[in-house]
Symmetry: C2
């Protein structure tokens, strides 16, 4: 298990082979064993294999070809709809139309997603997270016909790997760990902690390709810009309102 975790690579190329049903059930069952607030299980997993629906999802995920090439897309949703319906049928009055409840359900969904990914990788499958899910939640809701109180939080492609990329670099452990309390970073810390990353040949190539001065500018000016982030923030907050999670 530990090896499975340490060997994680995002897989973006998949064999055409479909996912055997018993494997699909096995990894979803693993998902449901994740911790869940108050054992409410306020999440849903949408398993999409239909090529027509996946074709519709492709632009939501910025036209990444793997969305069509992988045999399965799983969309993990914060979901209070089922729980609310249960409450109402039992003469109980659900109070889950607010931001805290969205966060509770989103946390549930994300822990399930990571369990599914690790169970999949442990079975020889490959996965890749689609960070675009929160950006394009509004359109995903339409395509997957998500009712009120349901919001997509993340998605993954999943299938048998047709590539074996190397491990991705990470910052040194001391960059992300704080003992006892938060210890803020000074200039020297930042220089030391990012030195190895900045020195990678892949980073240098990335800077050159994008005609930037350094790696940080590739992130701020090209990959994750203020303009895009603000646009998608407004869109996501509107989704939360529309799906009924902003009544506080």
């Amino acid at each position: 298990m530990h090896q499975t975790i340490l060997n994680h690579r995002s897989i973006r190329k998949y064999k055409k082979e479909p996912l055997p049903e018993h494997l699909l059930e096995r990894i979803i069952e693993a998902g449901t064993r994740a911790s869940t607030t108050g054992n409410m299980q306020v999440y849903s997993i949408i398993v999409t294999t239909d090529p027509e629906i996946r074709k519709a999802l492709v632009p939501c995920h910025f036209n990444q070809p793997m969305v069509l090439e992988a045999p399965v897309i799983m969309t993990f949703c914060a979901d209070f709809n089922r729980f609310n319906k249960w409450c109402r049928l039992r003469n109980a009055h659900p109070g889950y139309d607010n931001f805290l409840s969205f966060m509770t359900a989103a946390i549930d969904a994300l822990l399930v997603a990571q369990n599914v990914c690790l169970a999949a990788e442990d079975s020889g499958l490959g996965i890749c997270y689609l960070g675009t899910t929160t950006y394009m939640a509004s359109r995903i809701i339409e395509i997957l016909e998500l009712p009120p109180a349901v919001v997509p939080v993340t998605a993954i492609t999943i299938g048998f790997p047709d590539e074996s990329p190397g491990l991705t670099d990470r910052l040194p452990l001391e960059a992300v760990v704080h003992m006892e309390k938060y210890r803020d970073y000074d200039e020297e810390d930042i220089n030391r902690l990012y030195a190895a990353k900045e020195a990678l040949e892949s980073s240098k190539a990335f800077v050159k390709e994008n005609s930037k001065e350094n790696l940080a500018q590739v992130f701020t000016d090209i990959r994750y810009t203020l303009k895009d982030n603000r646009t998608f923030s407004n869109s996501l907050l509107n989704v939360l309102k529309k799906q009924g999670f902003m009544n506080q």
Copy 2:
């Protein structure tokens, strides 16, 4: 690995034994292998062992004794502070002061948390998630001295188990899985999907203890009430504003 996932139980009683340092490092390293948006690693892990700091954290986690009894509390934070500092030192202009960026960082932090939990359980340790982290984020920020652009998203207790509880019940798989698109639930679905849960002796005892008509009312009237949820929603949204994530 699959067995580790299927055997998960939340552990609330711990031996006094501290966590050996090599084990702590091993599970944190496993955390950092989780997928992270654009490989930005926009999270931090605060590892708290000091009994004085844990004593201060106890009320944040609704006085659960395990917060003091477990040898370690780990608080997982959405963290753009480190990344922003790096950008500014490189003459790059970070655009991560918005809600989408908070969600991106929260997702990062939660995938790391689940990796840490599974690596810990795989090494014979026990964990329990503290859902109270989002409720009491404001006070946790003070105690752990979290700077702007850092928000606690979840926390866990961790240590050697001193109890071996049974597996917790889960809804049948069909309750949480939707094939292709979302299929909404009708009354018959809800009755069928919740029947086993409602019939559990533990559920019946819970209803009786709380003098309610049924299990759903225990959730809505006692455990997760509208009043509390609204209070904590406002508090969490204020935290996001204060930490600089609501400029869109």
